[in-house]
């Protein structure tokens, strides 16, 4: 097996350990920034829904500030956004490079996008359901957790899948700024040293990751749609 791989990807012979490490780094970046983005994005998405006009906790100020902030951040090209955030990353994580340094920029790149997706997903919940639960004496907390979030699990799974795939792409891009991981690996060896086989190897692993994410996502959607 290993022999076969080395035949196809000759440079793996001496770069094997580094390649495995790069995969590990990418997974870590996806996991940590993904988890943080999921929590923050869901939070902001819910805030958008409940504070919008005629929302259950309508608040124009909060809604407008959040809405504009998301639009602004989303309109900044990702590479520029990453560079802008490096100082913040140094404050928060103590470093601007490596896996640790990549997490804050990745979260910034993902949360606005994800928050919008969550907003759209939750907006699909029928207004009548909210009305019915208000009539049953549900509090805003209950409505958020027991109606909005619970009812939109399939949609949330779908947008999470889309965002996760997006995030894999971002981690690769973060490689350009020396974050480590497969993107970094592909740039350093595949591009700068012309080891095309290493570029392919990185791409294949990334494709596998994307497929696994989609498989899990589809499984959850199927299990939770009634």
């Amino acid at each position: 097996m290993v022999e076969l791989l080395i035949q196809i990807f000759p440079n793996l012979a001496k770069l094997g350990d580094e390649f495995v490490e790069a995969i590990g780094d990418t997974l870590q970046m996806i996991l940590f920034s993904g988890a943080a983005s999921f929590i923050l994005g869901t939070f902001f998405g819910v805030v958008l829904i409940v504070t919008r006009k005629n929302g259950i906790l309508q608040n124009r100020l909060i809604y407008n500030v959040l809405d504009k902030a998301i639009n602004v951040i989303r309109s900044i090209p990702y590479l520029i956004l990453m560079m802008m955030i490096i100082p913040l990353s140094r404050i928060l994580m103590g470093t601007g490079i490596g896996v640790k340094g990549a997490i804050v920029p990745l979260v910034f790149g993902t949360v606005p996008f994800f928050a919008r997706q969550i907003e759209t997903a939750i907006a699909e919940v029928d207004k009548g359901l909210i009305e019915a639960s208000q009539a049953m004496g549900s509090s805003p907390w209950e409505i958020i957790f027991r109606v909005y979030l619970k009812e939109s699990i399939p949609s949330i799974a779908r947008v999470t899948m889309v965002t996760a795939v997006n995030l894999v792409g971002l981690t690769a891009m973060a490689g350009a700024l020396g974050s480590g991981g497969l993107g970094d690996f592909a740039i350093r060896y595949g591009y700068q040293r012309n080891m095309t086989d290493m570029t392919y190897a990185s791409v294949i692993v990334i494709l596998i990751m994307v497929s696994i994410i989609q498989m899990i996502g589809n499984l959850i959607i199927r299990k939770t749609s009634h």
Binding site: E131, A132, A135, E151, H226
Partner: protein, 352 residues
């Protein structure tokens, strides 16, 4: 038990809409009260002000001596648990099974609510849900999802859910408008049963007079945000005062057809000299068709019934007959006097 005092609602938008205007309404414990009106009359707005889903712009809402309009959100939520509500489109949660939907409003006993006397244990919830499922005859659907149910079954689930916290009032916003006539009947029967066996006061709104006729004790007719006519269903049907009420009643009987036939100069409505066409309405038990044959004997007039509609409302007959009398002019006049004396309403129908 339920009182609306000078309640109004204005929606502020590009132009202001006065959806409900100065409504005063008192609903008695245990009655089924129906509100009827055309689309846009303000019925939904009015019923939604009872549980304050819609805050009145003006006026007060009282239930059992508590002024709801004076409560804060938290107190209001507590009261709402005792006011069930069902909707035209059922509003069940797709992600929950039927049993879970019904259990939704029940407060679960959790570790942070260990000592809450109103919280239900898992076991208690199970029993309550089973009981409610039996009440609405859906025992076999406990683990199905709403998407697997028909409209009528969904409304039954919604009713079970609305009854979970043993409410005193049940509000129904067009609960049967999305259902076929047969299913409508079965839901109305269930509502009547809920009213009679559990003593729950029901306020329902509809645009179908048939629904009012079927189960309501009292009816209010709404138009342009106002209640134009209010009274016992039998009285209102027997003697409607407002045009809009007449129009609604006309939708449930074929009597109004006679006016069309007259207009079209249909053969049966063409009178010979000396004949008179009248519409007789009666709503007392002692009056019935025998009266007509008696009169025709006593006064030597012929009574030709060309149109008739008799129904039973709250166990009382409500009859409308279109009759052509022929005979001597003074005899017909005396016959009509006699009918009037017997509490029959006589209306002359003008023909060509």
């Amino acid at each position: 038990m339920l009182k609306l005092k000078d309640v109004s609602k204005t929606f502020h938008g590009k132009e202001n809409i006065d959806a409900v205007k100065h409504v005063n309404l008192e609903i008695q414990e245990g009655e089924i009260f129906g509100l009827i009106g055309f689309s846009g009359a303000g019925k939904s707005t009015l019923i939604r002000m009872i549980n304050l889903l819609e805050r009145p712009s003006q006026g007060q809402v009282w239930i059992d001596g508590i002024e709801l309009t004076a409560l804060n959100e938290k107190e209001l939520r507590k009261i709402r648990k005792k006011i069930g509500m069902i909707f035209q489109h059922f509003n069940l949660m797709r992600s929950r099974t039927i049993a879970q939907n019904i259990a939704y409003p029940l407060k679960r006993r959790t570790f942070w609510r260990k000592n809450d006397p109103e919280a239900w244990s898992k076991n208690e919830i199970q029993q309550k849900v089973a009981h409610l499922l039996k009440l609405v005859e859906l025992e076999d659907k406990a683990n199905a999802y709403p998407s697997e149910l028909s409209g009528g079954q969904k409304q039954r689930v919604a009713i079970a859910r609305a009854l979970a916290n043993d409410p005193k009032i049940l509000l129904c916003d067009e609960a049967t408008s999305a259902l076929d006539p047969q299913t409508t009947q079965s839901i109305l029967k269930l509502l009547k049963q809920v009213n009679q066996t559990l003593g729950i006061t029901i306020v329902l709104i509809t645009h179908e007079m048939g629904v009012i006729k079927e189960i309501c004790d009292r009816v209010g007719v709404m138009e342009d945000g106002e209640i134009k006519e209010l009274g016992n269903v039998v009285d209102v049907f027997a003697d409607p005062k407002e045009t809009i009420t007449r129009n609604f009643i006309a939708t449930t009987s074929n009597i109004s057809k006679i006016y069309e036939l007259v207009k079209q100069r249909s053969e049966i409505t063409v009178l010979r000299p000396g004949e008179r066409m009248v519409l007789l309405s009666y709503n007392t038990i002692n009056t019935n068709q025998a009266l007509i044959s008696q009169i025709s004997r006593d006064y030597e007039v012929d009574a030709n019934i060309i149109f008739g509609n008799i129904e039973v409302l709250q166990n009382k007959p409500l009859g409308r007959l279109v009759v052509i009398f022929s005979g001597k002019e003074e005899n017909i006049a005396s016959a009509i006097e006699r009918l009037k004396a017997k509490e029959v309403k006589v209306e002359e129908i003008e023909t060509w």
